[in-house]
Symmetry: C2
Subunit: 152 residues, 2 copies
C-alpha cells in the first residue's frame, strides 16, 4: 500500500496528543523520506525548559546534527499545526523539500489566542529556499487535539 499524507499526518497528530498528555504544548511532527518515518518530534518546551523547543525545529535540529545531514530537500515534514515563523525559518534554512500541516495558524489563533501573526506562506514567499506546502490534511482530527486547550 502506498502510504499517503493522511497516513503520516495521523502519526503527527498522535504525537501532538502525547505531547499534551506529558505536560507540554499539543504539537507533533514527523519527518519522512521515501515513504519511511526517519524521525518523530514533539513539543518539549516544558520538559526541556526551552521555550524554543517546538516539535518542528526540535526535530530538524536533532535529525540534522545526529545524522550529519545539512539539506532536507528530499524530505517531507508532517506537522499537526501550521508552523510559527521560528519553525518555518528552520525549514527554510534546512532546505526542506515539502511540508504538510493539519490545523492552520488562523484556526490556532481562534482556539488559543494570538501568537506571532505571520503565516508560514508569508515567510516562505520571502525566502530564498521554498518548501512546497500542503495544508489542512486531517483537519478535523487535528482540531480535536486542542479541545479544551488554551496557551499556558
Amino acid at each position: 500500500m502506498k502510504k499517503n499524507d493522511e497516513f503520516f499526518m495521523e502519526k503527527a497528530i498522535e504525537l501532538a496528543l502525547k505531547s499534551r498528555h506529558e505536560g507540554n504544548e499539543p504539537f507533533g511532527a514527523v519527518l519522512v523520506k521515501d515513504e519511511e518515518v526517519v524521525m518523530t518530534g514533539e513539543n518539549k518546551v516544558h520538559a526541556h525548559s526551552d521555550p524554543t523547543y517546538h516539535a518542528e525545529i526540535g526535530l530538524i535540529r536533532e535529525f540534522c546534527s545526529e545524522n550529519q545531514v545539512f539539506d532536507l530537500n528530499e524530505y517531507t515534514l508532517y506537522t499537526s499545526c501550521e508552523p510559527c515563523v521560528m519553525c518555518t525559518g528552520a525549514m527554510v534554512w534546512s532546505n526542506l523539500g515539502r511540508m504538510v500541516y493539519s490545523v492552520s495558524h488562523d484556526q490556532l489563533a481562534e482556539i488559543a489566542g494570538d501568537n506571532i501573526m505571520i503565516s508560514c506562506e508569508d515567510v516562505i514567499e520571502r525566502s530564498p529556499m521554498k518548501p512546497t506546502v500542503e495544508k489542512n490534511i486531517l483537519n478535523v482530527e487535528g482540531l480535536k487535539v486542542f479541545e479544551g486547550y488554551s496557551f499556558s
Copy 2:
C-alpha cells in the same frame, strides 16, 4: 564604569569573527543581565551540522535549558547582526526583554544576497511579546566582520 551597549556589542562582534575563523557563519551574540554577560553564542551551523544553529537561537536554547530559565524578560541579547525570523521568533517565545543589534538585515542582504526578507521589527510588531530593539550599535565595526564574505 557603567558598561554600555557598545561594551557588550564589541564582544558580540568578536564572537562573530571567531565564528567565521572557525569555519562557521560570521555571527555572534551575548546575553546580559544586570550588566554581566551570562552566556555567549556563536553560529555553529557547520560545527554541529545543524542549519538552525544560529548564534542567537543557539544561545537562547542552551541558556534556558541549562539554567532552567523560561523567561528572559530581564535580559538583553546583543547580536552582531539583525536576527532572522527564526531567531526573532526564539526571542519572542522566550519573552526576551531587550535586543540590540549592529548590522541590519538590509545591509546583510546587500553584502551576501537575499535571506528571509522579513525584518525583526515586522516579526515583533505582530507578536504577543515584544522585546524592545536598539539598532546599528557599532555599525562600522559590525560591517567589517563581513569583508570578503558571501553565503556559502
